[in-house]
Amino acid sequence: MPKYLLLKHYRGAPASVNDVPMDQWTPEEITAHVRYMEDFAARLQTSGEYVDHRALSPQGTFVRSDGEGRPPITDGPFAETKDLIAGWMLIDVETYERALELAGELSEAPGAGGKPIREWLELRPLLTAMPTVTE
């Protein structure tokens, strides 16, 4: 069964249909959203398709080597970074079509006014290890 990563972006994805930032929602709307996400993960656990899900802090730091014997250089966070990942869910499903279906469902999570956010999620297939038969 192929594995897919559902990527949720803080920034970088095209605008959602219900595009109101979360800090402008009511507390009840936030609670409803969080419950939807938890229920979704629980449903995938029951269906035997769940692998992992994690949320990421927006506070990212860029790091690179500055050569041997020197500490790494850090930079950022950049307010203008084009792409910022908010979190991911890893699923293990029978088909690409099933992965699309689940991503669509996750994108229906309720937002401002209790209406579905319909945000864009990025669906990425994971590369596998070497299959036995390659020729």
Binding site: M1, K3, Q45, T46, S47, G48, E49, Y50, V51, D52, D92, E94, P125, L127, T128, A129, M130, P131, T132, V133, T134, E135
Partner: protein, 391 residues
């Protein structure tokens, strides 16, 4: 207790429990629990009659679970517990289980998981580790599959094609965690071949043995993919090859050709060639024609184009490729290879690079990236050292 012996006993013990009246789902759970218990307690007092011991242990687990379930229901509903009765397996428990676990109503992933547990005797944790998912997810997948089977009439024999498909999927998954899935698939297919006289079962077993024989030469010391033409053929396992060829010949003599026999015939022709250059590509193309007739598969059409390229030259291969769906995985890789052999290095390098971006496994991606780099390097050499003659 010896783990592999224990695992081999699993299908027969499930069969005993079902014959005693247990439903399949509960029997399978009880045997799994008894196996886990046996693996945990260790080998300090190995029983003289392991099968009798496992039957007794699993039956106890089954009765405990039934009692617990009955008293729970009585507390909650005060209704009499009615145990569902499953189909009663006949003399060959393992054959019945193969069909049940690969029932066409199950998705391939569920059928694989259930087969590995009930026929292979693996624990849920081992299967989960091999397929890189949490144990809870794999447990749910297996219990859902069993619930699905519970509502179905199972008195009719299943479809042999789905059983073979499941075993092939396990084989192709290769090596996961501490479980060698390819070896496990061979063990299960051997067992099935011993209980069935279907030539396609023999064909699949031959196919697996012939591929398995080349396993150690398929990866380099650093884990990189070594293509067939570059493999060190002295490392091929000649015992497995001759066993595979013998099984295949007996199957072909039955004159009921199927896709696994045809695939095994192609693998046998590769195994038979002392060097890559001596490969009988003309015969391989003929087998691909058979395979295409049997399956109509676009992937077969793609692989056939490679064989045509070897038999009749790269231009002929490229012409064949024109009839193949370009959206197929590995299409770009085949295109690149044929272009390189036809001498079009610039385009070949670009196509290798494109192929690496659409590869579905890490070793293939790395291999194709290296191929692109290799072709680009030879292009650079060519421009740095201009030839003194005109072509």
């Amino acid at each position: 207790m010896n783990e592999s012996l224990l695992r081999e006993l699993v299908p027969a013990v499930i069969g005993v429990l079902v014959r005693r009246g247990a439903d399949f789902a509960s029997a399978e759970d009880a045997v799994q629990e008894a196996v886990i218990r046996a693996l945990q307690t260790g080998p300090d007092d190995p029983p003289r009659d392991p099968k009798g011991w496992l039957v007794a242990a699993a039956w106890r687990k089954f009765l405990d679970a039934t009692r617990a379930e009955t008293s729970r229901r009585e507390r909650e509903l005060a209704v009499e517990h009615e145990r569902p009765t499953g189909p009663v397996p006949g003399a060959d428990d393992s054959l019945w289980l193969y069909f049940l676990c690969a029932h066409p109503s199950l998705s391939p992933g569920s059928a694989v998981a259930l087969t590995l547990r009930a026929v292979g005797g693996l624990t849920t944790r081992q299967i989960a580790t091999a397929y890189l998912v949490p144990e809870a997810t794999m447990a749910q997948r297996i219990s859902r599959a069993k619930r699905r089977l519970a509502g179905l009439p199972l008195d009719r024999p299943g479809d042999p094609a789905t059983v073979l498909r499941v075993l092939y999927l396990v084989f192709n998954e290769g090596y996961g965690g501490d479980i060698d899935l390819a070896a496990e698939a061979i063990r299960l297919t051997r067992q099935l071949a011993a209980a069935s006289d279907e030539p396609e079962v023999a064909g699949l077993l031959a196919l697996m043995l012939l591929h398995h024989a080349r396993r150690s030469s398929r990866t380099g010391p650093d884990g990189r993919l070594v293509p067939l033409a570059e493999q060190d053929r002295t490392r091929w396992d000649t015992t497995l090859i001759s066993e595979g060829v013998t099984i295949l010949q007996a199957a072909l003599a039955r004159d009921r050709l199927g896709e696994y026999q045809a695939q095994a015939a192609i693998a046998a022709l590769h195994a038979d060639a002392p060097t890559a250059a001596e490969t009988d590509w003309v015969q391989i193309v003929e087998w691909y024609d058979e395979l295409l007739r049997l399956t109509g598969s676009p992937v077969v059409r793609l692989n056939r184009a490679v064989a045509v390229g070897e038999a009749d030259g790269p231009r002929a291969g490229l012409a064949e490729l024109n009839t193949v769906d370009p959206d197929l995985p590995r299409y770009a890789a085949v295109h690149a290879y044929l272009l390189e052999r036809a001498g079009d290095l610039e385009q070949a390098a670009d196509r290798y690079a494109a192929a690496s971006r659409t590869a579905t496994s890490v070793p293939e991606r790395d291999h194709l990236t290296r191929e692109a780099a290799r072709v680009r390097e030879s292009l650079r050499r060519r421009t740095e050292q201009p030839t003194t003659f005109t072509e």
